[in-house]
Amino acid sequence: MSDFTGNFWPIFITVISLLGIFGCALLLWLTSKVKVVTTNGDNTSGHVWDEDLREMNNPLPRWWVGLFIITIVFSLLYLVAYPGLGTYKGELGWSQEKQYQQEMADANKALAPMYAKFAATPVEELSANPEAKAIGERLFMNNCAQCHGSDARGSRGFPNLTDHDWLHGGSAEKIHQTITGGRIGMMPPMAAAIGNEEDVKNVANYVLSLSASKHDASRAALGKEKFAICAACHGLEGKGNLDMGAPNLSDNVWLHGAGEAAIIRRINEGKTNQMPAQGEKFSPEQIHVLTAYVWGLSNKAN
């Protein structure tokens, strides 16, 4: 890069551009007239090759010369008006960045009345507006679908947004909060607190029993007591805690994998899962529209 920040290249470009333009003008002038030896006055130069191939003098039409002059004048005016000569900024002060910002400002201005209309509509109502839904879908596809999937049903580690199982709450305000500020869900490794390997396995089977999944009933009975440690966050009945983002263990939604092995792993290793904050990326009106879209995914009946 340092090659391009020195003084040499801007000067080089300036000199080459101007030399090129003046060179064209010079060539046009130098070739305007030619001395020929006329032998027979038949508009040929008198050169004959290959027995009968003669060189004719077919002059360039003058209007074509006019076009050359126009391009030369145009290129000089252009170089005065726009940045073309090294570091010279041009009289019009045009730059790519300014044009980009201008276009963005124009687009935002054009969209402002529509977003203002959306902003005045409550999320629950907005989610049924087809126009807002289409915009919300595009925002979701470009910014959220990478993790949550284009059908918003998530994947391992990425929550499904179309069901009624919410880690931090599924109300409009909660969704708005989640999008704006992001979320961090943290479960510490609990193996030490619970006890030995057997204890962990027993607790895991108790957890499985909460959702009536396949489990060993005798182990589950043994694990029930130790579950009290887990209940601090997940609640006594394992229904979870929206304020802490502790998942409900009594349903059949397993964000980090179902089955005994997966649960034992979570107890042993814990889990930190993060959704990054999106507040910086969007305007408040866009977040409003996106909230309506996400809220609408699990509240279709309305």
Partner: protein, 489 residues
């Protein structure tokens, strides 16, 4: 070594001396030539009539077709903003570019075919440059008079009479050119709306620009540039000689019959004097739109319009000589003195047959492919975020995004099916009953589709699946391939 170099030097010296001995004929000439205005004389005749037929046909099409409607829309409209191209019943999209390619190839081949048979037919009869020049010349003639009157007017000093005629001509030219520009824009934006905007002077800046630009191009090319375009700008004029051969019909002067040329009394019968049939009246030069003398033989400036043939025939009639001193003929016919039928027999030669066969094949292929074209398209894109996931009931799910583009102008209903794996189930978000998706006229819709199989029912890896999308009303269907991924846990 030494020897040769010495002889070379002496050669050079000799050359210099030779050059210096003839300075008398040396002249300085300008390499930039002022355009000599050409004043084609008006004519009538067989080829001229044909040209007017072609002018009427092409221009009735050009000015008329944008006003035709098909249903509730313009029949022929190239909507660049919406990227939809309406051609009567058809609605084409940028993806259908292949049809444009086919049409361009067919056009090029037709040009080759016509050129091989009868030279610059396109140039002489249908090229917009010729057609508009002819129309502008007609206007010019109506206002300023024919060749002699125009030449006199141009050399006359400026007077109110001259000013009136010149401004009347330019007024009509500009009005006609603007109408042409307006019609041109009417192919890209609905012409009736454009007409309303034009009347209330509320055309958008770009519409105004293009009307003026195309109008200016018409005015400049047909009013002023004329033959200069053919001589210096048109690439086709230069490369078509590659399609000529000795059996190509071109406008030809029968030199053997015409020479030696010379003026004579009208009472001299053909063949009774030492002179040939050409009476050297120079009318063929006066009518030529490119200002050449056809009697000098085939020249690159000749656009093959046949004006000289028409005017020469009228002169031959007046003289009581046989017609056809200037006529469509071939190199072979002239040198071998073939009869007309002998010459015509040579039209069906291998080159013409091959051009014709390829052309017929391409046209058939284009029509067949338009006929069997399914009026909708489907793109299948595997979800960017989710490779595969376990869902309720121990099902393994893959997610796809399907874009269905309805190319028709009515709402269509599509049914989705997937196959390729045992026990493959399909679920589509936001569908009406039975996996039916409706798409509004000429719109496209994205749908999320989930394919499910019981987990563990097939080995991990990538499996081919096929989506079949059926259009319910017409039973057209499209099959798109994709893959179903089974992860190794």
């Amino acid at each position: 070594m030494n020897d040769t170099s010495t002889s070379k030097t002496t050669d050079n010296k000799k050359a210099k001396i030779v050059e210096k001995t003839i300075p008398l004929n040396e002249v300085v000439i300008s390499l930039y030539e002022a355009q000599d205005k050409i004043y084609p004389r008006s004519i009538s005749g067989f080829f001229t009539n044909w040209r007017w037929v072609m002018i009427w046909l092409t221009q009735l099409f050009f000015y008329g077709v944008p006003w035709l409607n098909w249903g509730s829309r313009q029949a022929l409209l190239f909507d660049l903003d919406a990227k939809r191209f309406y051609i009567f019943k058809l609605v084409l999209y940028p993806q259908d570019l292949i049809y444009l390619t086919a049409i361009l190839i067919i056009s090029a081949l037709s040009l080759f075919l016509f050129t091989a048979i009868a030279g610059r037919l396109w140039c002489g009869y249908t090229c917009p440059q010729t057609v508009y020049t002819e129309i502008f010349l007609w206007i010019e003639r109506k206002i300023e008079g024919d060749r002699a009157a125009r030449m006199k007017l141009d050399t006359a000093t400026m007077s109110s009479h001259k000013l009136a005629k010149k401004s009347a001509k330019h007024f009509v030219w500009i009005a006609f050119a603007l109408w042409t520009g307006f019609t041109f824009v009417g192919y890209f934006t609905p012409i009736r709306e454009l007409a309303n905007e034009f009347r209330s002077l509320s055309m958008s800046p770009w519409e105004t620009f293009w009307v003026c630009f195309y109008g200016f191009a018409t005015y400049g090319n047909a009013g002023f540039m004329r033959e200069q375009v053919c001589k210096y700008m048109c690439p086709y004029a230069r490369f078509q000689s590659a399609m000529f051969d000795d059996d190509t019909l071109t406008v030809t002067y029968d030199e053997a019959r015409g020479e030696p040329r010379g003026g004579r009394s009208r009472s001299v019968k053909e063949g009774t004097s030492a002179l040939g049939s050409c009476i050297d009246c120079t009318l063929c030069v006066q009518v030529c739109p490119t200002g050449i003398d056809i009697r000098d033989g085939l020249q690159y400036e000749c656009i093959g319009c046949g004006a000289c043939a028409d005017v020469c025939d009228t002169v031959m009639d007046k003289m009581g000589y046989a017609r056809g001193l200037v006529k469509y003929s071939t190199q072979n016919a002239i040198t071998n003195k073939w009869s007309r039928s002998q010459m015509m027999q040579r039209i069906l030669r291998p080159r013409v047959i091959i051009y014709g066969a390829i052309l017929a094949l391409l046209i058939t292929a284009l029509l067949a492919s338009l006929w069997f074209r399914t009026p909708f398209r489907v793109n299948v894109i595997r979800d960017r975020g989710v490779m595969a996931r376990l869902a309720d009931g121990g099902m393994l799910e893959n997610v796809y995004r399907l874009q269905i583009m309805n190319g028709t102008e009515s709402t269509q209903h599509y049914q989705l099916n997937a196959s390729g794996i045992k026990d493959l189930a399909i679920e589509v978000d936001g569908t009406e009953t039975n996996q039916t998706i409706s798409v509004k006229p000429a719109e496209s819709r994205w749908v999320s589709v989930r394919l499910e199989i019981p987990d563990g029912s097939i080995e991990p890896g990538s499996h081919r699946v096929e989506f079949e999308i059926k259009e319910l009303d017409n039973n057209d269907s499209v099959v798109e391939k994709s893959v179903f991924l089974v992860p190794r846990y």
